[in-house]
């Protein structure tokens, strides 16, 4: 069943492709274009996979599966507008299907408990005087804060603020109305900001 839904999700244009030639008849050039262009998005896709799974091995497998499906579907289901958002949409569909497959249903895990290991590096690095390191700390802090958000918040933050997709593109990737993107993004940023403020207050008063 998951397989069938995966086909529907990833290849939802397929029946039209057999009816008209608007999506067919792609030349060899566009296929070699795919190889060239698709790899440019590897880091971005891996980042999104990490954001979804928070596990390096799972993320790598997710990326590989995404490229496999995209390569197979390319030539018939060509993203007219944006190859990158097309790849992101494929990845999220695969991930959703895997979640469903785990039978326990989607696990939108809220992390409320304090994670000791995350605090440790804050203590270690906050005392270092070097500006370069501070920049690194800053980035680490933002990344850790994003990782602590619920998945529905962290994915929308990453799609907008890290990857720069438009609301419309994000709505396409998440399969939800653009209005939902807007409101969810607002709440996500609010939570991210309060988390960062709390951490900063914590290190300052140390």
């Amino acid at each position: 069943m998951n397989g069938i839904f995966a086909y529907l999700a990833c290849y939802s244009l397929w029946p039209q492709a057999s009816g008209g030639d608007s999506l067919m008849g792609k030349t060899d050039k566009s296929i070699s274009d795919f190889r060239q262009v698709a790899l440019e998005h590897l880091d971005a896709l891996f980042g999104f996979a990490m954001v979804l799974t928070r596990n390096r091995t799972e993320a790598e497998d997710l990326v590989q599966e995404t490229y496999l499906r995209a390569a197979r579907a390319f030539g018939r289901l060509v993203p007219d507008s944006n190859l990158k958002s097309w790849l992101f949409a494929i990845m999220r569909n695969i991930w959703l299907n895997q979640l469903r497959h785990e039978q326990s249903g989607p696990q939108f895990v809220e992390i409320d408990a304090e994670d000791e290991s995350r605090w440790q590096w804050l203590d270690q690095t906050a005392s270092d005087p070097h500006a370069v390191l501070m920049q690194k700390v800053e980035r680490e802090q933002v990344r850790s804060a994003i990782e602590r958000l619920p998945v529905r918040y962290r994915e929308v933050i990453v799609l907008r603020d890290i990857e720069g997709f438009s609301y419309q593109q994000i709505a396409g990737i998440l399969q939800c109305p653009a209005g939902t993107v807007m409101s969810r993004l607002g709440r996500a940023r609010e939570q991210l900001r309060s988390l960062l403020v709390r951490w900063q207050a914590g290190t300052v008063t140390k």
Binding site: M1, P15, Q16, G19, E138
Partner: protein
């Protein structure tokens, strides 16, 4: 804070994300020029977003992953052919429900019909999984795993799946898989153990992606015919569909897909798919390899079951 300020604060995110229309944007910017309170909020928001955006890239893919993907993309070429395959596969899956008055020239109707049929099929499939009778005689479509194995076999035939490890030793191939797949695979050595004349030979192995995991791919060759064995864990795929043949407590699922014979079965935590283009029916293609071995009675069991059907 005035009403306008409220409105401006609501639009703040939209403005920063460049999602306001021209007129709205002009009004927004005009207000920002004239209202210090809103200007202050805007500056804070900008600093916050800059800080978040400076964290890009959040993660960097490892060079191993990059190499693997590059290899995968270059081996999965000929997407036009692959797309025909895929279409055949889906059509195969949908075939039982297709009606003769099907109009291929109405793309939207086709799309709708296909979606409805797929949902109906998926429902049927789920039902058949949940309430599978012990001696099921119904023949349903091939499983995803069987389709994936056929796809793998075809890609191998087209030269798109170079072997990662070349060896004709079952022991060496088994140990090559150790640590690469999430399960332990021990290939049998029928020919050695039975001193059987060499009917088939091992060619090598590689990993193939399957769902969230790698499956083990083992290439055999008999005379000039390639034989594909794909192995994964029970937790990743289970055999289903096709014609069911039970022997010695194992249930074999026999499918014919695009002229290829596929047998899938599950044993001790692993799920197997064997693909070949041999003329013989599924169980007889086992016999071809296992003739004269102690597996003979096992194969005989298959034949008897088959005659009884």
């Amino acid at each position: 804070m005035t009403n306008t300020c409220d409105q401006i604060r609501i639009q703040m995110g939209l403005y920063l994300d460049d999602e306001l229309r021209n007129g709205e944007r002009d009004e927004f910017e005009a207000h920002l020029q004239s209202c210090t309170a809103c200007h202050e909020v805007w500056e804070q928001e900008c600093r916050f977003l800059e800080r978040v955006r400076a964290a890009e890239p959040l993660y960097v893919a490892s060079s191993q992953l990059r190499e693997r993907i590059e290899r995968n993309i270059s081996t999965s070429s000929e997407p036009i052919t692959a797309s025909h395959n895929l279409r055949n596969r889906i059509q195969e899956a949908l075939r039982p429900s297709y009606s003769p008055e099907f109009h291929p020239h109405l793309p939207r109707l086709v799309a709708l019909t296909a979606v409805l049929l797929a949902v109906a099929f998926a429902g049927f499939w789920l039902f058949s999984m949940r309430s599978k009778p012990d001696r099921g005689l119904q023949i349903s479509g091939p499983s995803d795993f069987a389709l994936m194995a056929v796809d793998t076999h075809l890609r191998r035939l087209r030269g798109q799946l170079p072997l990662e490890f070349i060896s004709d030793s079952p022991e060496l191939i088994s140990s090559w898989f150790a640590g690469k797949v999430s399960f332990s695979l021990k290939l049998p050595n029928y020919q050695e153990s039975s001193r059987q004349e060499k009917l088939y030979r091992l060619e090598g192995a590689r990993l193939v992606a399957l769902k969230n995991d790698y499956a083990a791919y083992v290439a055999y060759k008999m005379k000039q015919s390639p034989i594909t064995l794909v192995v994964t864990a029970n937790s990743v795929a289970l055999p289903s569909g096709g014609e069911e043949i039970v022997s010695k407590g194992l249930k074999f699922h026999y499918d014919s897909i695009n002229g290829l014979k596929v047998i899938t079965w599950s044993d001790r935590g692993l799920t197997y798919a064997l693909v070949s283009d041999l003329e013989e029916r599924g169980q007889q293609s086992c016999l071809v390899c296992h003739a004269g071995t102690k597996d003979r009675d096992f194969i005989e069991g298959l034949k008897i079951t088959s005659i009884n059907r």
